[in-house]
């Protein structure tokens, strides 16, 4: 008997080849690998803007809020406008993760991660404006209820305090939501990464291995967090709106404010998801995962919330006229035809008129159209807050104390800096976390495999 050939013996001893990695893992982890020159250039630009804004802010701390153009009667300027804008942007993430999760809307899987990441970044951006807006930053902790030498407590009847609680709760819960969802994906990255990334993801995955017990606890956590976050999403912008509606300023003192603000927040949040994700999808070739189907569903949300916002604009005018209160009537007249007419018409055209194009399927599925429209909506939503805040404060009851406000260079730099801060953080996260939830996409792909394509 001849001995078997050496090759056959070697084949027996050789370890079995590793099965090929899942294509979903490969595609969705790819954006984390390597950085291009363009990425560095973008990061450098955003960092430069953030640096400029920081320099202006330090100057403002030194010289006082005068350099921000804060003068009688407008003491809430572009900072508060931008604060409300960013809180609004923060609404899409938790809406998509929590409310659409409870409704079992499967199309959320492709966009929930990026929207959650945007939420967390937007809340952090918004929170900074509370610090930027108060003149004496070193006393800003006075807003927190803690035992102190002054032996006094905060006033819980103030909407500003409700805001402190609402925004910090929202920021915390959004971050928890993002992290909980990321754990299985961190484990996927851990099993594939090398060097420092391996260490990072090992720590972040915290021993996740997808056992039945782990998934069971994870599903339950997601469900309960969604249940908790659903009323939270609706409450946060309601509380922000009460910052205005609880006062007696004409144009602010309206019961419609809470639903009006919530709809506006969801509207602007979805627009921001589109503005950010359309380029990301293109650059990283995620067309297979974020499809026309997702865009169409997001467009429908935009259309719905645009209609609610448009209805709120109309009903505000109706209430002002129907109330018979002269100050209300003149506030709204001046809104449309007074010194801030341009902002008002920008707001109406961008938020209520332009999105009507989404009635057409062609527009809903055309990515370039949606990109342009989402930018238009973002601009319109910033101006909406500008109209409400500045328009309200500059034209209160007594014409003798009316004034004109124009944002100063300091404010504009810091506002631009906030957009750069948002972009900078998103760019950094883009390289650290998978922007499409891998485990959730796999749930769909395995399901399809089990039941045949198109199930």
């Amino acid at each position: 008997m001849t001995p078997p050939p050496a090759e056959a013996v070697a084949a027996l001893i050789r370890p079995a080849p590793q099965p090929p990695d899942s294509p979903v893992n490969r595609d969705l982890l790819a954006p984390l690998e390597g950085v291009s020159l363009g990425y560095f250039a973008l990061l450098a630009i955003t960092m430069a803007f953030v640096g400029a804004a920081a320099a202006v802010w330090i100057t403002q701390v030194y010289l006082g809020l005068g350099i921000a153009g804060y003068k009688h009667p407008v003491f809430w300027g572009a900072y508060i406008v931008t604060f409300v804008f960013w809180v609004g942007i923060a609404h899409a993430g938790t809406l998509i993760s929590a409310i659409l999760y409870l409704f079992r809307a499967k199309w959320r899987n492709a966009i929930n991660r990026s929207a959650e990441a945007m939420t967390v970044i937007a809340v952090i951006t918004a929170m900074q404006f509370l610090g930027i807006h108060v003149g004496r930053i070193w006393k800003s902790y006075f807003i927190l209820p803690y035992p102190n030498q002054r032996a006094l407590w905060v006033n819980f009847k103030s909407p500003l305090l409700w805001d402190t609680f609402a925004i910090s709760t929202y920021g915390t819960i959004s971050a928890v939501f993002l992290l909980v969802g990321l754990i299985p994906d961190f484990a996927i990255a851990r099993d594939r990464a090398r060097s420092w990334r391996k260490l990072l993801y090992t720590v972040l995955a915290a021993g996740w291995q997808g056992t039945a017990r782990q998934w069971k606890a994870h599903n339950r956590t997601t469900l309960h967090l969604s249940g908790l976050a659903t009323p939270l999403v609706l409450s946060v912008h309601s509380v922000v709106s009460w910052d205005f509606a609880m006062s007696i300023v004409p144009g602010w003192h309206a019961t419609i404010f809470a639903p009006y603000f919530v709809a506006g927040a969801i509207f602007s949040g979805f627009a921001m998801v589109l503005t950010v994700m359309i380029p990301v999808r293109r650059v990283f070739g995620l067309e297979r995962y974020i499809t026309a189907y997702h865009f169409e569903n997001m467009s429908r949300f935009l259309l719905l919330t645009s209609l609610i916002v448009g209805y709120a604009y109309l009903s505000e005018y109706f209430m002002a006229w129907y109330s018979g209160v002269e100050t209300e009537q003149s506030a709204f007249w001046l809104r449309a035809f007074g010194p801030y007419w341009m902002s008002t018409w920008v707001m109406i055209l961008c938020n209520a008129v332009a999105p009507q194009i989404l009635w057409f399927k062609k527009a809903r599925t055309s990515v370039p159209t949606l990109f342009v429209l989402s930018v238009i909506i973002n601009i319109g939503m910033w101006f909406e807050r500008y109209v409400i805040i500045i328009g309200g404060l500059s034209r209160e009851y007594n014409p003798a104390v009316w004034g004109i406000y124009t944002p100063s260079y300091a404010e504009l730099t810091i506002v631009a800096g906030s957009f750069a801060f948002f972009a900078m953080n998103f760019l950094i996260l883009l390289k650290l976390i998978p922007m499409v939830a891998i485990a959730e996409m796999k749930e769909i792909s395995i399901h399809e495999r089990a039941h045949g394509e198109g199930h």
Partner: protein, 167 residues
């Protein structure tokens, strides 16, 4: 005791195999899934996760804290406004609501960490990167004499590989 690891491709195969194994009294088993599949999890553990208790306790703590904090502080430093009561329940409800969500959410996350054992520790010997790709794993401990039987059972349910783990 020897431990066998079987690799499956579909969740339903895992469910069938696990149900059979548990029916025959092999209770020391563990599954590894790349994505959540309720049927797999229910086959291994029938009871709902304890995490739900954490949410309840957190939420209740939050609502009590919210009202207690506001009521106590308002009465510790009384601000007289037009002869109205010092305690003003409707605005305090907002604080209580926010704290309900905050404490409930944080405790739920703690529950996840405790019940999914998410803290620094070594991964199971049976776990490998393929279970974070697209394969499902079933690891089961059995007596030396049952190895062949379990091996047959696992393969009969569609296991594409069955291996004996060290230790």
């Amino acid at each position: 005791m020897p431990r066998l690891l079987a690799v499956f491709e579909l969740p339903q195969q895992v469910v069938d195999a696990v149900t059979q194994l548990r029916g025959r009294g092999y209770l020391d088993l563990e599954t590894y899934s790349p994505a959540p599949f309720a049927e797999v999890e229910d086959a291994v553990i029938e009871k709902p996760s304890r995490v739900r208790l954490y949410t309840l306790v957190g939420g209740l703590t939050g609502v009590v804290t919210g009202y207690a904090l506001t009521l106590w502080m308002a009465n510790d430093w009384q601000i007289m406004v037009g002869g109205k009561p010092f305690s003003s329940i409707p605005p305090y409800t907002i604080i209580a609501f926010e704290l309900t969500i905050l404490f409930g959410g944080l405790l739920t996350a703690l529950g996840l960490a405790v019940h999914a054992r998410l803290y620094p520790r070594k991964l199971d010997g049976a776990y490998s990167a393929r279970f974070s790709a697209e394969d499902f794993g079933v690891a089961v401990s059995c007596q030396e004499r049952d190895v062949a039987e379990i091996d047959d059972l696992l393969r009969a349910h569609g296991a594409k590989e069955v291996s004996l783990l060290d230790g």
